[in-house]
């Protein structure tokens, strides 16, 4: 080694250089594997942890009357929301506290009461952090104006427009239209890919509930980018939501209004339908309720007022109220007897009462109608006559005929509320009361009393079927298919009953029928039947006044059933009210 040459060999330098080069190449190769070959996988992993999919609710379809009148629609609603990302703190509890303080501040400044509990905020932070928190829903114009003016003072708060349900007709047809509640959207089958669902309106009663799936819009999709803690950083719409279709109903608002006017101040119900196709023109129940009280949310006090009211305004009496139909049931008894071979012209001697196994039923006519045939028995509503023919044919024949007219089974109405009522027989009584069936029971139900129960809707179907000869399934959706089934009765048999019912209104000669008030001024011939059902015993004994009819008598286009609780009698209380409704349909005088 010559002088001046290093004691450290050059080889070391080359070895070091080689090691460095190998190391750098090793890194380059591995980085290429991660960044080029693996890029797709890591991109997916990155997106999966930072992108949330949100299902957005579509605008709910409207509910319309048959003439296109809006019964349930949508209106724009402004809400003040809080964006949690603006209140991020290190700890979750501090974040919740910061949001709450922000809400308190905004509330105090623009005069809105804090609407959310600490618990609700906390739940939002832990479950739906990436979504805006709705603090005040459906805020009034004045508050929105104040807020917008000073928006810069309220960072993290914003006004958003959503849709609220609105019911332009208020309480009209409230039991039919129904109302909606706000639902946290839930995962449908195949929707597991979504992380969040925006709150959606869900039908809770009436058509809103029955046709919920039809009315609901087609959901859209939004994507949100969230940070490591779950705060939303930005979002964009992937698929726009689509509004749901409108539901056109069969309701004729003119008729519906007339029916509700007649029931004002009463407890009762009125059903009008077209017996040819089952279209329900009016379905009224009184008392009703204001549908707009349910928007944006039903206040607990209003709900309590509705549920505590002994008049039960939320109950749909028209299709969900089961009443003893009283004498309006007599046409059914008459048809059952005719079907069993009872001669239509045979006279029965009415003494004013009917004794049967230890009990006595009284007739409307205190001293009896004397000799009376079926037509006149219907006209005069003779109780002993119908008790007699029912006992004559027996329970089985009676029940079979009643069943053929839909008594004891649901009508098939496209509404959640559709009670079957009760058509009792021996087996039913044994099952329900543990007692055997007596002939007196049959005598009772033959005149629509006792254990027999039917809804006004069922009675409207029955009376319509008598008028047309076919039993239709009532429906509320305009484009629902028409369904009907034939009756087991012959035209001659039906004609006997039709004659009797015609006489109930028109009378005979100078003698008035029991329901004459219903035909007064309608303009078309009306056939019907009155009924006065006695319910309860002793102190709580009261009378429900009924009237059922179809018109015009020879080619019916309307069938009506009307009941008023605690009325005087069918003829005095119910018949004139039904007459007014019929005038509304046929344009008679005095509407």
């Amino acid at each position: 080694m010559s002088k001046g040459e290093s004691s450290v060999g050059a080889l070391s330098c080359w070895v070091a250089a080689a090691v460095f080069a190998a190391g750098i190449v090793h890194l380059a190769v591995n980085l290429r594997a991660v960044q080029v070959t693996g890029a797709a996988d890591y991109n997916y992993a990155s997106a999966r942890q930072s992108v949330r999919r949100v299902q957005t609710a579509g605008l709910r379809g409207r509910i319309l009357g048959r003439g296109g009148e809006v019964l349930a629609g949508n209106r724009p609603s402004l809400s003040i929301v809080c964006l949690p990302a603006s209140f991020e703190e290190r700890s979750w509890s501090n974040t919740v506290g910061a949001i709450r303080r922000g809400i308190d501040k905004v509330g105090a400044e623009i005069g809105l009461r804090p609407a959310l509990s600490e618990k609700a905020i906390s739940r939002h932070v832990s479950q739906s952090l990436a979504l805006p928190l709705f603090v005040w829903r459906d805020v009034g114009e004045r508050e929105i104006a104040v807020f917008s003016e000073r928006e810069l003072e309220f960072p993290g708060f914003a006004v958003v427009e959503t849709a609220e349900r609105t019911y332009p007709c208020g309480a009209l047809a409230s039991h039919v239209v129904g109302y909606v509640g706000r639902d946290k959207g839930e995962s449908q089958a195949g929707d597991e890919k979504f992380s969040y669902f925006t709150p959606e309106m869900r039908g809770r009663a009436g058509l809103e509930s029955y046709y919920d799936g039809f009315l609901r819009g087609v959901p859209g999709e939004r994507k949100l980018v969230v940070d490591a803690r779950g705060f939303a950083i930005r979002g964009w719409t992937v698929v726009d939501s689509q509004p749901g279709p409108d539901l056109v109903t069969t309701l004729d608002l003119r008729v519906q209004r007339a029916a509700e006017r007649q029931l004002r101040g009463e407890r009762g119900a009125c059903v009008v339908m077209d017996p040819r196709n089952g279209e329900v023109l009016a379905l009224a129940s009184a008392p009703g309720f204001d549908l707009n009280a349910f928007v944006p949310v039903l206040s607990p006090s209003t709900y309590a007022r509705y549920t505590d009211d002994p008049a039960k305004p939320l109950l749909n009496r028209a299709s969900g109220g089961a009443y003893a139909p009283g004498s309006t049931f007599k046409p059914v008894t008459a048809l059952a007897a005719l079907l069993a071979g009872y001669p239509s012209d045979e006279e029965y001697f009415c003494t004013g009462s009917f004794a049967c196994g230890g009990m006595t039923l009284h007739c409307m006519s205190r001293w009896g109608h004397g000799p009376i045939d079926m037509r006149h028995a219907l006209m005069k509503s003779c109780n002993p006559f119908f008790c007699n023919i029912a006992l004559d044919i027996g329970t089985n024949a009676f029940c079979a005929a009643a069943q053929s007219l839909g008594i004891g089974s649901r009508t098939g109405l496209d509404l959640g509320v559709d009670r079957a009522g009760v058509l009792p027989d021996g087996e039913w009584k044994m099952r329900t009361y543990g007692e055997r069936w007596y002939p007196g029971d049959l005598a009772q139900i033959s005149i629509g009393q006792g254990m027999l129960l039917a809804t006004p809707l069922q009675m409207a179907c029955v009376v319509g079927a008598i008028g047309t000869g076919r039993l239709v399934t009532p429906h509320l959706r305009r484009d629902a298919p028409v369904e009907s089934k034939p009756l087991p009765f012959s035209d001659e048999q039906l004609q006997v009953v039709r004659d009797g019912m015609r006489m109930v209104i028109a009378g005979e000669g100078t003698v008035r029928g029991t329901g004459w008030r219903a035909g007064d001024g309608v303009g078309v011939p009306v056939s019907g039947k009155t009924g006065t059902a006695e319910v309860g015993v002793g102190e709580r004994r009261r009378k429900n006044a009924w009237f059922v009819a179809y018109a015009p008598s020879d080619a019916p286009t309307a069938a009506i059933a009307l009941v008023v609780e605690n009325g005087e009698s069918g003829g005095i209380t119910a018949a004139p009210k039904a007459g007014e409704v019929l005038k509304a349909i046929f344009g008679g005088t005095g509407t």
Binding site: S7, C13, A16, F20, A21, Q35, A39, Y42, S46, I233
Partner: protein, 390 residues
Amino acid sequence: MTFLKRFDWLMFAAMAALVAAGTVAIWSAGNARAETVFHGMWASNLATAAVGLALYFALAAVDYRRTLDFLSLPGYVASLVFLVAVLVFGTSVYGGRRWLWFFQPSEVSKLFVIALVAWLFGRRRVPALDIPVDGFRSFLLLSAAVGAPMLLILAEPDLGTALTLVPAVVVMAFAAGVWRRGLVTIAAVGGIAALLVLGAVYEAERPGVSAERRELILRYVPLKPHQVRRVKVFLFPETDVTGAGYNLRQAKISIGSGGLTGKGIGRGETNHLKYLPQAISMNDFIFCVWAEETGFVGSAVLLALFAAVLACGCRAALVSQDGRGRLLALGVSTLVFAHVYVNIAMSIGIVPITGLPLPFISSGRTFLVTVMCGLGLIQSVTIHREEQLA
């Protein structure tokens, strides 16, 4: 002017480019943090680089032999004093006492150890003691000189920093020819011991091993629980992605999702959405930020710049006519290489996660100044390559 004529412009340009890249990465990582104090971190990094640059030129201008003669021993002793002081007065960060006032003595001491080793073993005989470099006594001297600061750094505790000294010292010792036979033996024993530890952790942590057996094996493994965890994440990266493996998983997602060309400067999602651990995104995980935003192209550029720096270091060693110069250039280059390799390799799971900064890119001020001084010394070796008359 020999200074300007021999000045290694390539190495200087590569260094400047690396500092610029680092400033950009720090800007992006700082902006992602909620605390506004970090938003200006890039500016303070530039200020630190200015200080480093001043020292760089000073060290480059002065003959490194003079620097070594005057500074290596006193500087080494001073760094030992600081290492003791940091254990007594230091500020505790993330469970280790590493900070003294505004700097980390352990980072500075790396350079002084390298300088001392170069000064002691760069000639045929050790100065002052006058013992032959290739003898056993030299080995004892080397062990003592390197062992003292390493033990003090281990006491902080900072295993990663302590271990980065090893490759530099080993390379220098081999190059200087200090007791080669013994060194080979020790290296072999050390390698076998490391493999045994790795094997033991593998045997203890592999799926389906009973708790008692795991306990029994780990009792004989000389690692702390958090170190065992890191080795486990290295061996089984997919086992615990929300716990100990979270950092590695997020680091890999960052780098991998950068793809070929990256997401754009300042637009790295895992960084800005805070999936990348915030506490270390500016320091140990800064490469993830860079790689995510500039993609494989950016990573390759960074590797090329490092390669240029290392090549210049090797060239400096090669052209130097002096053993001290060669050792100095090799030592500093190896230190830089070890940091670069371990830092990037741990980010993609090739080596266990260790808290090591990436030279010129991470935001550590002490380390930036230290590495720039190291490059200044290499520059000096290039410029003053010939033996000068004393």
